[in-house]
């Protein structure tokens, strides 16, 4: 059977991983290449790289780093951040990305999802949605969660899936950074609305939160987190061992 995926997310700015990381045995904790290798070795099922660079120079650096990661790490890579056009898709896919995540770029120009899915296949296009409750309604936020678009989130996600988005990352702004657990009601609303894989993001603070996620919402395919992995608060081998004890299927990592 298909296993639940555990996905660390790396925010990269000017060629370095943002958010301090603290691992024993890692020579350079803010090197995206070293950190990616570490995660791959300990059993991460996929990696997400977000380019949070604003400058063109930083973007070039990001692309170079991506090439380096993809030539040494052989697990699926999703790349997001600054994806506004098919040229952006092309740029990161040529460097070994398997999936490309769109967010603000799709909000600005929703046709991007359709055009990319047509050219690269649905499996390549990930819609990342930053969602927050506004007056009890799920709203889509743009620009890294700073700007309320006023759009209702579930219909936005459904529209993108109809246009060819093959996977959805649901990032709850309400639970993000709180470490009180994933946003189960929001995730359930998305899972009920679409038939493509759903990745839960925002709110994981400990191992129990992943167990709660996969037990209460078996339709969710993957759990994504950043700082709890980077800071070593949750170690992926421990997380997977606990999930296995709870009869949640996860991939075992084969030794080299």
């Amino acid at each position: 059977m298909i296993t639940k995926r555990i996905i660390p997310c790396l925010d990269v700015r000017d060629g370095r991983v943002v958010k301090g990381v603290n691992f024993e045995g890692l020579r350079d904790v803010s090197s995206p290449v070293d950190l990616a290798r570490y995660y791959s070795d300990v059993g991460a099922d996929e990696l997400v790289f977000y380019d949070i660079t604003a400058s063109a120079e930083g973007r070039r650096l990001f692309t170079d780093i991506l090439c380096e990661v993809a030539s040494t790490i052989f697990i699926p890579l999703t790349v997001g951040g600054g994806i506004n056009s098919l040229d952006d898709f092309d740029r990161v896919l040529k460097c070994g990305a398997d999936k490309v995540s769109v967010n603000s770029g799709a909000i600005r120009r929703p046709e991007l999802v359709y055009e990319a899915a047509k050219r690269y296949g649905d499996q390549c296009v990930v819609l990342s949605a930053d969602i927050k409750r506004v007056g009890g309604v799920f709203h889509v936020f743009a620009k890294g969660g700073r700007e309320d678009t006023g759009m209702e989130a579930i219909s936005w996600i459904r529209r993108c899936v109809d246009s060819g988005a093959g996977e959805i990352v649901v990032n709850s702004i309400d639970t993000d950074g709180v470490k009180g657990g994933f946003d189960l009601p929001m995730l359930k609303a998305v899972c009920d609305a679409v038939g493509v894989p759903v990745i839960a993001s925002g709110g994981a603070g400990n191992i129990d939160h992943f167990i709660e996620l996969f037990h209460s919402l078996p339709q969710v395919d993957a759990g994504l987190a950043a700082s709890i992995f980077h800071f070593g608060e949750v170690l992926i081998p421990d997380l997977k061992a606990r999930l296995r004890e709870e009869h949640i299927l996860v991939r075992e990592v084969a030794p080299c």
Partner: protein
């Protein structure tokens, strides 16, 4: 030298890198005549079957592959490249494949329960069918590999060397003499995938 066939579908960066990682010399080529100089051949592919089959023909690669295979050279089809090994596909119409493995490519929706998501995407365990294939000499049954597909090879039970359970057994890998195919992506399947590529490189020419 391993020839990775470039016929304009999908990017081959990871595949080329994965051979480099296991110390095998691989060259991406779009020239049919290069296949003769290779020890073994990789047929990759993503996207739609009909389009890919047409591009393979237009590149003159279909005949070149058939010639090299009949000369005994090991061939490994990956993902859509594996599906192209079969006789035909029903993806958006009926399209002819290379016919190296008997069978037909059909939607997985025909066999999996309605509440299973399509595509079949993620890590799934390999269940060997019969004696372990030479392609699996460096891995174990139950090892997980990475899949992304909505269609699968059918009618090829005699040549199926591994399945993956997804509400129904899906065809994960096929083999017939020197022709091999993986529905999953060995170049995205961590060490298990690299060990499958190593085993392919071990095959005697």
């Amino acid at each position: 030298m391993i020839a990775i066939i470039d016929y304009g579908v999908g990017n081959l960066f990871s595949l080329k890198s994965s051979f480099a990682a296991i110390g095998a010399e691989a060259r991406v080529t779009s020239h049919p005549e290069d296949l003769a100089a290779a020890d073994r051949i990789i047929l990759p592919g993503v996207g739609a079957f009909g389009d890919a089959a047409e591009k393979l023909c237009r590149a003159g690669m279909d005949q070149a592959v058939l010639e090299q295979v009949s000369a005994g050279k090991p061939l490994l089809g990956i993902c859509l490249g594996m599906q192209l090994l079969l006789e035909e596909s029903l993806e958006y119409g009926t399209h002819a494949g290379l016919g190296l493995i008997p069978g037909q490519v059909r939607p997985i929706s025909e066999v999996i329960p309605a509440d299973y998501k399509i595509p079949h995407i993620g890590w799934n365990a390999l269940q060997f069918c019969g004696e372990p294939s030479r392609l699996f000499s460096r891995i174990s049954e139950g090892d997980a590999v990475y899949f992304v597909h909505s269609f699968q090879a059918t009618g090829c039970a005699a040549h199926t060397i591994a399945c993956a359970e997804y509400g129904a057994p899906l065809t994960a890998a096929v083999a017939k003499e020197n022709v091999f195919g993986c529905q999953f992506h060995p170049e995205k399947s961590g060490n298990v995938g690299l060990n499958i590529l190593r085993a392919f490189c071990d095959l005697e020419v």
